[in-house]
Symmetry: C2
Subunit: 143 residues, 2 copies
């Protein structure tokens, strides 16, 4: 019996589901989170830009061929209105040797509210040199 | 006499003003385009993540110390609703030697509609190796 597509009541819920699906290498669960829109965009840390469902799905299938990626999102900065939300965060990527120290990943995730609940329209991840600076932004008040 | 802050009636207008101000190294014009929000985010291609007006302003002041940067945005993919818009594009950066061929810049620009018109909340630029692939996305239908 086909499962009903999951509803996400909050932006935090869908963001949690996104990183959870990546950690479990669950391609179907991951792709359910994207908006039904030809203009969805996914940019991986190597700079590859994918447009549209098919291209994005194929890229994650490649990544998951070697298993899930364990990502712990930290240092969230968020802007939100009734119909959309932007999350900018640091992705702490765990490797078998522990958290990587030589690079860190910055990500912008954009969500829109659809009749089916919150969905992803853009995931833009990029690599930045060095360990991320915990002090620099930790005093910013989130709202 | 202080000038009234400019209104931008469309997302394309404010995006044009953004790259125009960067090309002219006009810091005041550039900073007028950002939303009045502590959570505005600017990520430069070197990976530096700036949060808030003061940090973003200081970073562009540093960049403009050596003059404007001439950027031609191409390959736009856009999603928009009544209150927000996301533009993803390739920034063709001109140098005195012409357009750079060894890297290209991918940018996500997020705009929100405020009582004062459209404003920027996130500019996330990242470097990608090689020349951008014109064929790969040119057949996508924009809407």
């Amino acid at each position: 019996m086909p499962k009903a597509r999951k509803q996400f009541g909050s932006v935090d819920d869908i963001e949690h589901a996104f990183y959870d699906a990546i950690g479990r290498a669950d391609l179907d669960a991951l792709m359910e989170l994207w908006a039904d829109d030809e203009e969805i965009v996914c940019i991986h840390p190597d700079g590859t830009r994918l447009i549209g469902f098919a291209a994005i799905r194929a890229s994650w299938a490649d990544i998951f061929a070697t298993g899930g990626v364990h990502i712990h999102p930290v240092q969230l900065h968020a802007s939100q209105n009734m119909m959309s939300a932007v999350h900018n965060l640091i992705e702490e990527v765990s490797s078998p040797e522990g958290v990587q120290r030589d690079v860190h990943i910055v990500a912008t995730n954009v969500y829109v509210k659809t009749p089916a609940g919150w969905r992803i329209v853009v995931h833009h991840a990029s690599a930045a040199p060095g360990k991320h600076d915990v002090q620099k932004v930790s005093t910013t008040i989130l709202h």
